[in-house]
């Protein structure tokens, strides 16, 4: 049972949030020998980890922040080992594939813009991912089913994807096997700092922890100010569809079309500012489908078996926020949008930084102080 682990109501460190970010950090902390309690909400929650597109994606990341380009690249490079360790710790294979990824462009104009962006990024962070521009013919050689409307695209060989639901499940299993005390149905309502740690109030009881990590996704916005941190994150909706299972035909993922290891083709994913609304709409789904049909005309005949809307955890500039509290020492904040891509970095570098309380240069750029003043503890 989940409750039988070595640390329950009193622990070294509490991680708040059971999405992939919280789980990755908790897994990294437990692997470093800390007694971790992981607090999560119930079955119905905003949980991007259940609805994401599962890309381990590098190209185009960090256009305005070279540190983020490096950070992403580092995580992608660490993913192979991470997946292997996680497989050993959980018994679950994540179906990681890093054979490159393509952004398909449907007009010359789009292709030019995209190419210009990629070279700007390359100039800012020359040590990072190399992105090639391919024309229609070159893409057709790689993906014979591509449609005539695809004029070209940008390809990066560091891109890839995983089975995101198995990542989610494997992190859970590995955390439990590493002795983490998992406390579901325990939404954190209040945080109070005391002489030697924190009191964490949930409807299912109080927990004491010497230190704590906020990794509650969209929930961080409310929790952070309680411990002298700021998490100005907002929801951004993405709608996704998946088709019936097809025989494998896609050798590598596209930015908005990928075939899962199980065979379904995922079509994504919109970027909508609609607040806390996880619904879907035929206009948006229709637009996504229309784009997919232009890229792979034969897909028009495939049946959509499910669709969903999920909320991204977005900071004002879209980059992660990693912070430690000045006014409440021992409180940390970890939140980001690309939690799948960054899972490897969260389980290693971030977990190490928190475990040792030594903040490496690589993450210095990601403090919320870049957005202005950080409030004092409530």
């Amino acid at each position: 049972m989940a409750g039988q682990s070595r640390c329950g109501n009193d622990c070294d460190i509490a991680v708040i949030g059971g999405g992939v970010v919280g789980l990755s950090v908790a897994y990294g902390l437990a692997s470093r020998g800390l007694a971790v309690t992981l607090l999560d909400e119930g079955d119905v929650a905003y949980r991007a980890s259940r609805g994401n597109f599962a890309l381990v994606w590098v190209q185009g990341k960090g256009i305005d922040l070279p540190d983020y380009a490096r950070w992403t690249m580092g995580s992608a490079a660490a993913w192979k080992n991470f997946a292997e360790t996680l497989r050993r710790d959980s018994g679950i294979d994540l179906a990681l594939e890093q054979r490159g990824g393509l952004m398909a462009c449907l007009s010359e104009r789009e292709l030019e813009d995209r190419t210009a962006q990629m070279s700007r990024l390359h100039n800012a962070a020359p040590d990072c991912a190399n992105v090639e521009t391919l024309d229609h013919r070159q893409i057709k050689e790689l993906l014979p089913e591509i449609g005539p409307d695809v004029v070209g695209g940008t390809f990066c060989r560091h891109d890839g994807h995983v089975n995101a639901l198995r990542l989610f499940g494997a992190l859970h299993e590995a955390c439990l096997r590493r002795g983490i005390a998992y406390r579901p149905n325990a939404p954190v309502e209040a945080l109070v700092q005391m002489a030697n740690g924190f009191r964490i109030a949930t409807p299912s009881g109080e927990i004491r922890a010497r230190r704590l990590v906020l990794a509650a996704g969209l929930g961080n916005a409310k929790l952070a100010p309680l411990v002298g941190l700021a998490a100005p994150v907002r929801p951004q909706r993405g709608q996704v569809m998946v088709t019936e299972k097809l025989a494998p035909f896609l050798k590598f993922p596209l930015g908005t079309i990928r075939q899962t290891d199980e065979g379904g083709v995922m079509l994504g994913d919109s970027k909508e500012e609609v607040g806390f609304d996880t619904g879907s709409s035929h206009q948006v789904l229709g637009t996504i489908a229309a784009h997919a049909v232009k890229v792979f005309p034969l897909l028009a005949g495939a049946q959509i078996v499910r669709s969903w809307g999920a909320l991204r955890v977005m900071s004002p500039d879209g980059y992660p926020i990693y912070d430690r509290s000045v006014s409440c020492p021992g409180a940390y904040l970890v939140t980001c949008h690309s939690g799948v891509t960054l899972a490897a970095a969260h389980a290693s570098t971030i977990a190490e930084a928190i475990a040792t309380d030594i903040w490496p240069d690589a993450i210095a750029a990601f403090s919320a102080r870049r957005f202005g003043d950080v409030p004092a503890a409530a």
Binding site: M1, V44, A289
Partner: protein
């Protein structure tokens, strides 16, 4: 094809609502995925091969009259048309997605009535995915629409009124079953007893006794069956049975399962309608106002998708919903519909009498709802009860997190074959009520449409 009222389902509830609404001359469209009107109970009632015979019983024939009135009502019947989503518009109306095998489109309607009926409760027994195992409802559908019956050793197993109805229909057709296996738990009789008076005054009593006589004289009935297993290598070859403590095997090429019916909830849940768990009927039912309106204003539900009540109740509920919709459109003339309303209310009350007795008597035993660990519960993704129990023990919070971890409910049937089982497994193991556990979140499109059809929806939007 925009309209005042769009009805989904052309069974007794949908047809009755359409007829009622058409009295006031409003425009009504009725969409149904089947090729002809009738729904499940009156399937093929207009043109089926058995409409002239009395094999299917008097109740079936009464559906013909309804179908005739419906055909003359002026409601537009869209057959072979699946409704895959209902969205609310800004202007207090609805946009409804309709798909035929050729194309999908969105139409607008001021009011919507969901009358999609029931589906059979999942019957997860060992081997229920073997070819040759079907539901009793499937077999009855084949009988009604094509006059087809099983040949070779056939077993009918389970509990519920449909079991006797089908057995009697087969008896009349000269089809002999290898056995009828009654899984009704012994103790149910005692629990049903307090509801007996209502049943004695209901139309079910006489019908039930007559059916029972027919069934008993034609087929071998084995009662007190407490376990069933479908056996075979890639194909059913027999059924292993435990009855009154004895275990034995009956060879069979067809096994027809039934454990009662439950409301179809996918479209309503995906449209945001709140549902509540019925402990008496072990199913989720929409939260409805007395006139059939859901928690989504302007969206109504009638018939078995409102709660299982049978054909007569469905028809009465359809009529009442039709009247309520007319009241919304033209409140001034509400009083003129009072007589009709009272009559329908009385008819509904009459047809629901005796229902509580049937609910208690035919309440399926727990082992037929929450099977042993090695039994598949999600047919689409091959997830077993054991997979689910193990993860519940690991702290998995509920059906939605379970779906992420196991893929249960992710296949094309969208949880129709495993949703209730998941909820009940959670409730049992965690001590919460099924209401607290909740149901898998359901979403549009509630039936698959192609990527091309979906893409067409965006094109149409741009043209406007």
């Amino acid at each position: 094809m925009n309209c005042d009222l769009l009805i989904i389902g052309a069974g007794p509830a949908g047809m009755a609502a359409a007829i009622t609404a058409r009295q006031a001359g409003i425009s009504v469209v009725v969409a149904d995925e089947n090729p002809a009107v009738g729904g499940q109970v009156y399937r093929s009632v207009e043109t089926g091969p058995l409409v002239q015979s009395d094999l299917l019983g008097a109740d079936y024939s009464s559906g013909r009259e309804l179908a005739e009135v419906f055909a003359a009502s002026g409601a537009q019947h869209q057959s072979g048309t699946t409704v895959f989503m209902i969205e609310r518009t800004q202007t207090h109306g609805f946009t409804i997605g309709l798909a035929t095998s050729e194309r999908a489109r969105m139409v607008e309607a001021r009011h919507v009535l969901i009358a999609t009926g029931a589906l059979e409760r999942p019957c997860p027994i060992p081997g229920w995915t073997l070819p040759g195992v079907m539901t009793a409802g499937a077999a009855q559908t084949l009988l009604k629409s094509s006059a087809i019956a099983p040949e070779g050793p056939t077993i009918l197993a389970g509990s519920g009124p449909l079991l006797s109805v089908l057995a009697a229909q087969y008896a009349r057709a000269g089809v002999k079953l290898a056995a009828v296996l009654d899984t009704t738990p012994r103790g149910n009789w005692l629990k049903a007893l307090p509801h007996l008076p209502g049943f004695l005054m209901s139309p079910y009593l006489l019908k039930g006794l007559k059916l029972l006589r027919e069934v008993m004289s034609a087929h071998r009935i084995i009662r007190h069956v407490s376990a069933l297993e479908a056996v075979g290598e890639g194909q059913l070859s027999g059924v292993s049975v435990v009855a009154s403590g004895r275990t034995f095997m009956i060879p069979a090429t067809t096994l027809l399962l039934h454990q009662g019916v439950v409301p179809q909830v996918n479209l309503a849940m995906a449209s945001g309608v709140a549902h509540v768990w019925s402990e008496a009927r072990l199913a989720f039912e929409p939260a409805l106002a007395p006139d059939g309106e859901t928690t989504v204003p302007g969206l109504f539900i009638a018939g078995d998708s409102a709660g299982i009540g049978g054909a007569q109740a469905a028809q009465a509920r359809g009529l009442l919903a039709g009247l309520a919709i007319l009241d919304r459109i033209d409140p001034a003339t509400r009083a003129s519909r009072q007589t009709q309303r009272s009559r329908a209310e009385a008819s509904l009350a009459r047809s629901l009498r005796g229902r509580a007795f049937l609910d208690a008597l035919y309440r399926p035993a727990p082992q037929f709802r929450m099977p042993a660990d090695d039994v598949i519960i999600c047919r689409c993704e091959d997830v077993t009860a054991g997979d689910v129990r193990r993860l519940i023990a690991r702290g998995t919070q509920g059906p939605n997190q379970m779906k992420a971890f196991t893929r249960a409910g992710m296949g094309p049937c969208q949880g129709r074959s495993c949703g209730l089982t998941l909820t009940e497994l959670f409730a049992k193991q965690t001590g919460r009520s099924p209401q607290q556990v909740g149901h898998l979140r359901l979403r549009a499109p509630v039936k698959p449409i192609t990527v091309g059809q979906m893409a067409g929806l965006a094109d149409a939007e741009q043209r406007d």
